[in-house]
Symmetry: C2
Subunit: 422 residues, 2 copies
């Protein structure tokens, strides 16, 4: 038996067990799920030593393999980070259960009683990278929404993820959650993820949280539905009528506050009539904070200290302290630029003009459009969902921050007394 | 330039034009869309002669190519069928516009005002077979939901579809609908559909309405989201406590009333304790109506006139007057059978037992589950949606009958006054 055949067999067996668990999860009461979530919180704290010991092994492996200090920091667990994970469990327990919610319905003229109910999807695969807290986040959101989960974390956090998964799965089972409802792919072989996305009939959804390399490799082979927790090329357009200070604060916040996130700013568009006065001050503030600016010709004519932007800069998700800057004629030109180069994530206009604000909101095709606010707010917690499994820039099923509802499907239940169709 | 390269270029140009049209459609008022729909209704009647003349060419071609009488009947247009299409336009005009509906929102503690709005998907491709009325149905549902549509009908109806598309597109444009909002692929080359499902960035959704051959061929190559208007292996379970007459009427209706539809019955499951008395009467009624029965051993022991079912019969969507029959131990065995062989479309239980009815509704994983009613009701009109583009058995985005909402996405609009993230 070839290596791949054996691996595929193992992954399929894992998915079969997850599917069997999902059939029991489907009808589990909210009380049982919440009790399990509270027990998971407890277990993360009582089994702290075991988890931290596994984490030390990952950190040692990471140092040997020459991981950067930033990577090692993302990987590192400590009592405070475990308490944050436990608090996450408690918060998800406190959220309303999406399952069983009646989202539409009523009686038909023939007396049929219709209800459209929220139901779990079934089995969800989550693929993610270094941070081990995602293991817990993903597991608790899938559990609360009645789904079995197959976790596949990054190689760097393998030991931590394995123990975290064991700890929470055992705590959940002790409270009546079916065995195999929280499963982990215990190999770092990339062929495992490639196979996971082909198992139609066993896996209902795969959510990859990772870079464009992962996205591309999975898109080639995926047969099951995949929602990418996608990157963003987010824009801010500073209109002619913008309040200069407000515009500066929003642009600064969107670029600098946490540049590695997908809702951070990548391109600044400035109305030509405000550029000469506003842009030099803004550029100074950004450069002082260590931001590298890459401007088009008109921007560089105003701020010569900028690098020259190349055509590819307009499509770049820097994810770091670099900002592309483009001077545009008006709101129409700004929207045209975003239409060509935007990734459909988050766009903001800073303006005092009502009609420009309304045009920007109505005509741009993106998951989130803002007036006079930072793009950094595109987030499940900030939008009041209480939790987030990722941010979708796809248009089907879920768009924008994905909370518990994004992990559900619907079902029609129809009660009658002998109705037949004429 | 190869044939395929040229074809791909043409399809891409068509999609580019549709995308440009979709950007204008996105913000069109309900009044303009409704006026266009009413004008389309009018045009279908005033240009009746031209449409019927094209249809005669299709019918002649069909006869030459030896199409069956049933196929020719599906293909045939007449004044009554054109009036039905016109009435469809008027009915869709009368439906509420899904676009712009606020589906969630509120103010955040920091004063941000959130609204989650329904927006069009953009460009939708519809692939369908013989019946030319689908050309009009698909176009009007896409128009009402603010989407551009790319139509690809069956070869048999090519002339009819071409003229229908011209007539309604012209009528729509005269009322302010952008040019190319209703487009048709004017080739019957199958490579065109294969290319249509690969154009990510241009096409937002493709809905194929056709057999499993079409489904399989598209699934191999699809890169854009595809929702198959899928087939169904629908079950009826007649429980021990079922009212005999009600069970007979529901089973007869579900199988016989229109066997070619996807919500028609394919497998009858009968509780062992009722089978000896109920099944012979039911079998007699069905066989008298021309239904061929294929039973398992226990069913044939009761009704020896049945054919023997083979293992593959349990997975078969006959689409005609054939019914598989299986005697089962109880509701658990019935649900296990449906779990193994169901396609997740529509399932019904005929019972007087409250707990069996509730278990059937809660535990079966299907788009629609019924108690004491015919599976034939799974339909957009019967569910009160006013229209239907197809029935989805997928779990993401849309499940069950797909009305106007299934053709929409959502967008977050966030209004602030300078908020930045802490």
């Amino acid at each position: 038996m070839s290596h791949d055949t054996q691996l595929h067999g193992e992954i399929e067996a894992l998915a079969q067990r997850a599917k069997a668990a999902s059939e029991k999860l489907r009808t589990l009461s909210t009380a049982v799920k919440n009790a399990a979530l509270m027990a998971m919180a407890e277990a993360l704290l009582t089994q702290q030593e075991r988890i931290l010991a596994a984490n030390v092994r990952d950190l040692e492996n990471g140092r040997t393999r020459g991981l950067s200090e930033a990577m090692l920091d993302r990987l590192k667990l400590n009592p405070a980070r475990l308490e944050a994970m436990a608090e996450g469990c408690r918060q998800v327990a406190a959220l309303p259960d999406p399952i069983g919610a009646v989202i539409s319905g009523g009686n038909r003229p023939n007396g049929l009683q219709l209800q459209q109910l929220r139901v779990p999807l079934g089995v969800i695969g989550i693929i993610y990278e270094a941070r081990p807290n995602v293991t817990v986040d993903a597991a608790i959101l899938c559990l609360k929404s009645g789904n079995a989960v197959i976790l596949r974390g990054g190689t760097e956090a393998f030991e931590s993820n394995k123990v975290l998964c064991e700890v929470i799965a055992q705590a959940a089972e002790a409270k009546g959650i079916p065995q195999h409802a929280i499963a982990m792919i215990e190999t770092t072989d990339r062929a495992a993820t490639a196979h996971l996305v082909t198992m139609t009939g066993l896996v209902d959804l795969v959510i990859p949280r990772g870079g464009s390399g992962l996205k591309k490799s999975l898109m080639e082979v995926a047969k099951v539905p995949v929602i990418f927790a996608a990157g963003g090329v987010c824009h801010a357009f500073v209109d002619e009528s913008a309040d200069a200070r407000m515009a500066s604060d929003i642009v600064f916040n969107a670029k600098v506050q946490r540049p590695s996130t997908c809702n951070a700013l990548e391109t600044l568009l400035v109305h030509q009539s405000i550029a000469a006065t506003w842009l030099p001050v803004m550029a100074d503030r950004l450069m002082t904070a260590g931001v590298e600016l890459r401007g088009d010709e008109r921007a560089r004519a105003i701020v010569p200290a900028m690098q020259a932007a190349s055509e590819s800069d307009w499509d770049e998700e820097y994810g770091t302290l670099i900002l592309a800057v483009c001077v545009v004629d008006d709101v129409e030109a700004a929207m045209a630029h975003i239409g060509r180069h935007g990734s459909g994530h988050s766009e903001t206009i800073i303006t005092a003009d009502y009609f420009n604000a309304e045009a920007f909101c109505a005509r741009l095709d993106a998951a989130a459009v803002y007036v006079n606010a930072s793009t950094r707010f595109t987030d499940g917690f900030e939008f009041g969902m209480g939790a987030e499994i990722g941010i979708s820039t796809q248009k089907l099923h879920a768009r924008g921050p994905m909370g518990l509802e994004a992990l559900t499907s619907t079902k029609w239940v129809v009660r009658g007394h002998g109705q037949t169709r004429a």
